[in-house]
């Protein structure tokens, strides 16, 4: 499964973290270092497996932990209408 960023989302990176602003709902979100790394990957035609591989390569985390965290992250982004299924 692949995903894309919703329209009306603004994103700014700052010091290894970032702010996501949903202009439709007005809510903004703070992404930690891993979330900040994953966010642009979502729009680059990667599926969850690709993202997990890239996170494992960059951060000291097990494949299993990364898969679980990214799955939760994607679920949360869907709930908050920040991404859609491609």
């Amino acid at each position: 499964m692949k995903y894309v960023h919703c329209d009306n989302i603004d994103w700014k990176e700052f010091d290894n973290e970032s702010v996501l602003l949903n202009l439709s709902t007005g809510y903004y979100f703070r992404l930690n270092q891993v979330g900040t790394f994953v966010w642009p990957l979502i729009n680059e035609d990667h599926n969850i497996g690709d993202m997990v591989d890239q996170v494992v390569a960059k951060f000291e985390v097990s494949q299993r932990q990364a898969k679980s965290d990214i799955h939760d992250f994607i679920e949360q982004l869907l709930t908050e209408q920040l991404i859609n299924k491609a």
Binding site: V19, L21, T25, R30
Partner: protein, 390 residues
């Protein structure tokens, strides 16, 4: 000097590039005075402190990891606020253009974008817009249609004709989808303020301002600088960010110094500027380039307001007294000062009726004397329930 003040002063010196050689920091950034985090937020410089954290550490002013985490959170909040306002102001520009409303955006995001290294370093909580009085109804209707309501502030108790007569700013807020506040100004200074600006001057002294492809209009650098100094005075000089604003605006290379000085003379702000120069010199260790030719460092000291009282973040007097006392320092010439004092203590009966009594309460002289007697007694006893805010 407390550690908090040393931190703030060191921050000013990093901005000006002049090392601070006074009291050294004694290790912990906490001290018996106002907590540092509180003070940094009060002065609206928390994001600046985070931005310059390495320079501060090199100068001997370090933060604990917990403090750095708080400063970073504050900075991220500023970033989100800038994002919200950028988007909203582009949308508002489209709305105003459809109605052919001429306006000027100033302060806040304009200053942030014009003179700060990054726009999120200048915290702001609203968008200030100068409009022509004849556009007021149109703009109010546009904002209301766009989900804004009039803020329930002090001035809303007055009818529209009083608000327009005294040029009070109109404060609009919207909470959904984003928290946005818009201040509509009909004039650059309220009619009761001691310094009065010619708004046409500001309308004519304009320049373009780019906001992500939208070409908006703001004031030219000289009018921005003059207004920054006036604005600091209007709020009793008690936030460091206003001094940083004015310093950076006057330090920019494209400032026309003679035009700036001409505006200072025109609006009789030279004495006010002199006090600003003294405090700025103490805070930043040098004068901004825009004042370097016309003013000299290290001259005089104002016992009422100085860099130390500014940094403390506490007013040494009530706002009522400040409104009366500060102009006594900053207005030029005894006649002007006496005239202002007289107008404050004994304003026209019409003004007293407008503010305190209402139109239908009669014009009795005894009523006027009674009201003014009470106001003066309250002032002498420092009896005021006003809260200071910006």
């Amino acid at each position: 000097m407390t550690n908090s003040k040393v931190t703030l002063l060191t921050l000013c010196r990093i901005i000006s590039g002049i090392p601070f050689s006074g009291n050294k920091h004694s290790g912990s950034v906490e001290d018996a005075g106002r907590p540092l985090q509180d003070l940094l937020q009060y002065h609206q410089v928390a994001a600046l402190a985070y931005y310059y954290r390495k320079d501060l550490a090199a100068a001997g002013v370090g933060f604990t990891p917990e403090q750095l985490g708080q400063l970073k959170s504050y900075t991220l909040l500023n970033i989100s606020r800038v994002m919200v306002y950028e988007h909203y102001l582009k949308h508002l520009d489209d709305l105003l253009q459809t109605q052919a409303v001429d306006y000027r955006l100033f302060k806040g995001i304009v200053t942030a974008r014009s003179v700060y290294p990054e726009d999120y370093l200048r915290a702001f909580g609203d968008a200030d817009i100068l409009i022509r009085p004849e556009s007021l109804r149109t703009v109010e209707a546009l904002l209301e249609k766009d989900g804004f309501t009039h803020a329930d502030d002090l001035y809303r108790v007055f009818p529209d004709e009083i608000i327009q007569k005294y040029s009070f700013a109109q404060h609009f807020i919207r909470s959904s989808p984003n928290n946005v506040a818009v201040d509509l100004h009909l004039n650059m200074s309220g009619r009761l303020h001691p310094f009065q600006f010619d708004s046409d001057d500001f309308w004519n002294g304009s320049k373009s301002f780019q906001l992500d492809g939208h070409e908006l209009k703001t004031f030219d650098p000289e009018h921005q600088a003059v207004y920054a100094i006036y604005h600091a005075f209007k709020h009793y000089f008690f936030k460091l960010i206003w001094f940083i604003d004015a310093f950076l605006l006057l330090d920019r290379a494209d400032l026309d110094r003679s035009k700036f000085q001409a505006l200072i003379q025109k609006y009789k702000l030279s004495k006010l500027l002199n006090y600003y120069v003294i405090i700025t010199d103490e805070l930043f260790g040098r004068l901004p380039v825009g004042l370097a030719d016309t003013h000299r460092s290290g001259r005089g000291r104002n016992s009422l307001i100085n860099s130390s009282t500014v940094l403390s973040g506490f007013l040494p007097y009530s706002p009522s007294r400040a409104r009366l006392l500060l102009p006594m320092y900053y207005l030029k010439g005894p006649c002007t000062r006496f005239g202002f004092l007289w107008r404050q203590l004994f304003p026209p009966m019409e003004t007293v009726r407008d503010f305190y009594v209402g139109k239908n309460a009669g014009k009795g002289f005894l009523k006027y004397v009674k009201l003014r007697g009470k106001a003066i007694a309250d002032l002498c006893l420092n009896k005021t329930k006003e809260e200071y805010s910006n």
